[in-house]
C-alpha cells in the first residue's frame, strides 16, 4: 500500500538520524530550493557548450543520443530532456510518473526504508525529481538508456529518486552519469535508487561518477531480483570528490537469481570514500559476485563487502583488491555470512603496491618505468564484466582510460 502521509511522518522522525557509515553532513548548510532550467529539445541539447559536453561524455552521456536507446537528463532540480527511442522501454520523470501512473506507487519507497537516515528522509520530503525507467515484459533494449544527473548550482543539495524496473523476461541496459558543472565546487547529491528485476529479466546498470572536489555524495540503493533474474551493477568513480558513502544492497528473492557488483574506484588526496556492497542470497541456486578494485593516490578508501547466504546451493564470491600508489589508506572489510548448510562462499582480499617484478618485466620489453607502471595499473582496473553489450564495455573502457590518464 502506498501511503504518502505515513511515509512523510516516518521521514520527519528520521530527519536528524545519522547514517551508519561515513561522515555526518549538516544538510542545513545546503540549498534545496528548486532551480528552474528550460527543457531542451533534441537539437538544443546538442548545442550545449563543448566543455560541458565533454564532462557529460566522461559520465557516459552522449548529447547526440548516438548509440543510445533513450535519454534522461536532469540539471540541478529540473528535467531538461527525457525521451525513449525504443519500443517497450519507458523513460519518465518520477514526479510526472507519480502524478500520472498509479503503478509507480507499487515501487516508490518499496525497497529503501524512508527512515533509514536523514538523507533518505530529505529525499522524500524535498524530492526534486529523478527517473523511472521501465522495460515492459519481454522487451529488450538494443542500445543502453542513458541518464545524467548534473549539478550546475553551487551549494545545492540535489535530491533524486530513481525507479528502475525490468519486467518479466525483459532486458535493459542503463548507463548513468553524475557530474558537476566545471565551476561547481560544493554540493550534496542524494540519490535514491530502487531496482526491480522480475522473473527471467536482465538488468545492467552502469554508474559513472564525476564529481567536484568539495562534493558530498550519499546514494541509497536497493535491488530486488526475482527467479532467474540477473542484475549487473557497475560503479566507476575516478575523480576527486570530498566524500562518498554508499552501501547498495541487493536481495536475491527467487531461485537461481544472480547479482554481480563491479566497482572501480580511484581516490585522490582529501577524498573519503566509504563504498560497500551487500547481497542477500535468499533462494536456492542464487549466485552473487562482488568485485572491487580500488586505487589510492592519497585518499581514504573503505571497501565493504557483505554476502549473506540464506539458502542451500548458493554460490557467492567477493574479491577486493586495493593498490596504494601515492599514499593514503585502503581499508578492506570483506564479510561472509552463511546461514545454512550447502552454501559455497568465498572471498579474496589484497592491498598492496605495484609489484617491482612486474615493472621490470615490462621494462625488459621496452617500456619506461612510468609506462610500465601505468600499464600495470590499467590492467589492475580492467575487470572482465560479463553480460554487457560490447558498446557498453567499450564505454567503460574509455571512461577508465580517460580518467587513468588524468590521474596518473
Amino acid at each position: 500500500m502506498y501511503d504518502l502521509e505515513d511515509l512523510k511522518e516516518k521521514a520527519r522522525q528520521a530527519l536528524d538520524k545519522k547514517a551508519s557509515f561515513g561522515g555526518d553532513l549538516d544538510l542545513n548548510t545546503f540549498d534545496r530550493s528548486f532551480v528552474p532550467h528550460k527543457y531542451l529539445a533534441e537539437e538544443e541539447i546538442c548545442a550545449i557548450p563543448q566543455e560541458e559536453q565533454k564532462r557529460l561524455i566522461m559520465s557516459g552521456l552522449d548529447v547526440t543520443g548516438h548509440g543510445r536507446g533513450g535519454t534522461y537528463f536532469q540539471k540541478d532540480t529540473s528535467v531538461i530532456h527525457c525521451q525513449s527511442k525504443e519500443e517497450g522501454i519507458q523513460v519518465i520523470p518520477v514526479t510526472e510518473a507519480l502524478k500520472n501512473h498509479d503503478w509507480v506507487k507499487d515501487y516508490f519507497w518499496k525497497l529503501v526504508p524512508v527512515d533509514q537516515d536523514k538523507y533518505t528522509a530529505s529525499a522524500l520530503l524535498e524530492l526534486h525529481d529523478g527517473y523511472v525507467i521501465r522495460a515492459l515484459p519481454g522487451s529488450k533494449s538494443v542500445y543502453p538508456i542513458q541518464a545524467c544527473l548534473y549539478l550546475d548550482k553551487e551549494n545545492l543539495q540535489q535530491n533524486v529518486h530513481n525507479l528502475i524496473i525490468a519486467e518479466e523476461g525483459s532486458e535493459l541496459h542503463i548507463i548513468t552519469g553524475c557530474a558537476t558543472s566545471p565551476h561547481v565546487k560544493r554540493g550534496v547529491h542524494v540519490g535514491i535508487s530502487e531496482f526491480f528485476v522480475k522473473k527471467g529479466a536482465k538488468l545492467s546498470f552502469t554508474m559513472i561518477h564525476n564529481w567536484a572536489e568539495e562534493m558530498d555524495v550519499r546514494p541509497r540503493s536497493v535491488a530486488r531480483v526475482e527467479e532467474g533474474g540477473i542484475f549487473i551493477n557497475n560503479y566507476i568513480c575516478m575523480k576527486p570528490v570530498r566524500s562518498i558513502q554508499m552501501y547498495p544492497t541487493t536481495y536475491l528473492v527467487g531461485d537461481n537469481a544472480t547479482a554481480m557488483f563491479y566497482s572501480i574506484i580511484v581516490g585522490t588526496p582529501g577524498s573519503y570514500l566509504d563504498i560497500g556492497g551487500r547481497i542477500y542470497l535468499k533462494n536456492r541456486g542464487s549466485r552473487a559476485e562482488i568485485i572491487q578494485r580500488s586505487i589510492s593516490n592519497g585518499a581514504h578508501i573503505i571497501n565493504r563487502g557483505h554476502l549473506i547466504g540464506e539458502a542451500p546451493e548458493i554460490k557467492a564470491h567477493l574479491e577486493c583488491k586495493g593498490l596504494l600508489l601515492k599514499g593514503g589508506i585502503i581499508d578492506s572489510i570483506p564479510q561472509l555470512e552463511g546461514h545454512v548448510e550447502g552454501v559455497d562462499m568465498s572471498h579474496e582480499a589484497a592491498v598492496g603496491k605495484v609489484a617491482q617484478e612486474e615493472i621490470n618485466y615490462l621494462m625488459s620489453r621496452g617500456l619506461s618505468e612510468d609506462q610500465a607502471t601505468s600499464t600495470i595499473v590499467r590492467g589492475f582496473l580492467s575487470i572482465d564484466i560479463k553480460g554487457l553489450p560490447e558498446a557498453l564495455k567499450a564505454e567503460i573502457d574509455r571512461a577508465i582510460d580517460t580518467s587513468n590518464k588524468d590521474s596518473m
Partner: protein, 252 residues
C-alpha cells in the same frame, strides 16, 4: 657484440658471480650449463639489468656501449631481450597487448601466435594460469615480436611437452638465425653464416635444445665462476656421464 669483463655480482649482500669473462660475437649462440644455484639465472638477470643484482666489479659492454649500470629498458632499447623461466602474471593485460608492447612496429600478432600454437591465448591475461610449457611459448612469442639482437633464454625447454619441444626448438633456431642453411638465391653457406647478426645465450639442463640449435660454444657456471668452456655437445656429454663436479675438474 656482448663483452663481459671480470664481472662480480652481489644479491642481497651475497656474492653470486665472480671473475666472469664472456664474449658473444654477432651470429653466435652460447649455451650455459651449471647445477642449480650456480648463478646461471643471476648472470642472465645481470645482463638484462635487474637492479637487485648489484655489479661490484667489472664491466658489461653491448654494441660498444657500456651498459654495466644502465636501466633495463635502455638495454631493451639497445637490443637485449629475455625469455624468462618464471615470469610474473600481469592481471588485466592481455597477451595480445603484451605482444604489441614488445613489437616496436606493427606485427602480425595472430600469425605469429598461430605459428607457436598459441592463438587461443592471445586474449588471456599475460601468464595468468599458464602451464610451464605455455609460459615458454608465450615468452617466445613476445621475444619474436620484440626481435632483439641478443636473446637470453632461461631454460626455454623446461616444462615443455614432447609435442611442442620441436616447435620451441625450431622457433628458437629461427629467431637466432640458426636454421639449417637454405640454398636461397644461390648464396654460399659461408656468406649466409657471415650475415648472421643475432646473438644468443641459452641456459639448459636437459640439453634438448642442442638438437635444434647449433650452438657455437658451451660454458659451465659452477659456484659463481665460469669453470669450463668448450664444445657444447662435448660438455653436455661429460656432465651427463660424470656429473658437474667431475666435469669442471677435467677441463680448466
Amino acid at each position: 657484440m656482448l663483452v663481459i669483463e671480470d664481472l662480480q655480482v652481489e644479491l642481497a649482500g651475497k656474492t653470486l658471480l665472480k671473475d666472469i669473462d664472456l664474449e658473444i660475437r654477432p651470429g653466435e649462440t652460447h649455451i650455459l650449463f651449471g647445477p642449480n644455484g650456480s648463478g646461471k639465472t643471476s648472470l642472465l638477470m645481470t645482463i638484462m639489468g635487474y637492479p637487485q643484482y648489484i655489479v661490484k666489479k667489472g664491466k658489461i659492454t653491448f654494441k660498444g656501449v657500456d651498459i654495466t649500470h644502465a636501466p633495463i629498458n635502455e638495454r631493451a632499447a639497445l637490443g637485449i631481450g629475455m625469455s624468462y623461466q618464471r615470469p610474473p602474471t600481469i592481471n588485466g593485460l592481455k597477451t595480445r597487448q603484451m605482444v604489441d608492447i614488445c613489437a616496436k612496429t606493427k606485427v602480425d600478432t595472430e600469425g605469429m601466435a598461430r605459428s607457436l600454437n598459441f592463438g587461443d591465448f592471445l586474449d588471456r591475461d599475460v601468464n595468468a594460469g599458464f602451464s610451464g610449457g605455455e609460459i615458454k611459448r608465450s615468452e617466445l612469442l613476445q621475444l619474436k615480436a620484440q626481435d632483439p639482437d641478443l636473446m637470453l633464454f632461461d631454460e626455454p625447454e623446461s616444462g615443455v611437452d614432447i609435442e611442442n619441444m620441436a616447435l620451441i626448438g625450431t622457433t628458437i633456431a629461427q629467431i637466432l638465425q640458426k636454421n639449417p642453411p637454405r640454398a636461397e638465391k644461390g648464396k654460399p653457406f659461408v656468406q649466409q653464416q657471415k650475415e648472421r647478426t643475432k646473438m644468443g645465450l641459452i641456459i639448459t639442463h636437459t640439453g634438448y635444445i642442442l638438437d635444434y640449435v647449433p650452438a657455437d660454444k658451451g660454458q659451465v657456471l659452477y659456484g659463481g665462476v665460469i669453470a669450463c668452456a668448450g664444445n657444447p655437445r662435448e660438455i653436455f656429454q661429460c656432465i651427463g656421464q660424470m656429473g658437474y663436479e667431475e666435469c669442471v675438474k677435467c677441463t680448466i
